[in-house]
Symmetry: C2
Subunit: 147 residues, 2 copies
């Protein structure tokens, strides 16, 4: 292979790698910003990130919620009511395929005298305007202590 | 707008719609086939569907599992040991963006004298050869009865 072809290929790969890192950083930053607001009682950080067609699971629900309207009705009563004394996002991982980025992480949080452990999946989609929005969210308890 | 432009636009929309339905049906069929094998003790239905870079949550784990090798080690000891007497996939929904399809559903299953309710997320990615593979899976208990 001629050197300039090799250099061109390395450059293309480096550019793809750098684009992936940039998206990874961007997605984690979006999630951390919404999480920070959530842990301080502001549910609108997440509500502003969800797409209109978002689907959603959490362990308090009997079935999946569909759409931003349902999710807004679920979240709004919590506005101003949550205050975490600490939380940690553990091992965030972003899997990117074109305009979709799947963020997964474990989360530890402390609210009052209780600590919680979570599994979290957030599927982000790049919208036409270039913004990333969450189209699917799944929160569950890590290894729940069942009755 | 001239009639032939309108007809062309309607045709393009119908074609996109029909492609989406086709992908939706394909994804649900893949999941149902793997689920049917799982419920009859065969863990390889899912193992054959997972991509090498799959990430995975379930309620028995202390944290996310990463990669097919870890998931194979988790599943193989279960080979031949599960026999459900009944199960039902409830309200499957597929959100498609280019080469990614996010399948979500609730599941009820009966194994022995116990019944289980699940929330499930499966993120499928269309691979270069045209096959759909699961790159992320999140299983959790629906409204777990916590201690």
């Amino acid at each position: 292979m001629k050197p300039f072809v090799l250099i061109a290929l390395v450059a293309v790969n480096l550019s793809a790698y750098s684009q992936e890192s940039e998206i990874t950083e961007r997605i984690i930053a979006l999630e951390k910003a919404a999480l920070e607001r959530w842990m301080n009682g502001d549910v609108y950080g997440y509500l502003e990130l969800y797409a209109e067609d978002v689907t959603y699971f959490d362990p308090m629900l009997e079935k999946r919620l569909d759409g931003l309207k349902q999710l807004t009705a679920l979240y709004e009563p919590w506005q101003g009511k949550i205050k975490a004394s600490g939380y940690e996002m553990i091992a965030p991982e972003v899997q990117i395929s074109e305009k979709t980025a799947v963020l997964t992480f474990n989360l530890k949080s402390v609210v009052g005298d209780k600590s919680y452990e979570w599994n979290c999946t957030e599927v982000y989609r790049k919208e036409k305007g270039g913004e990333w929005k969450i189209i699917h969210s799944h929160w569950s308890c890590t290894k729940p202590d069942l009755k």
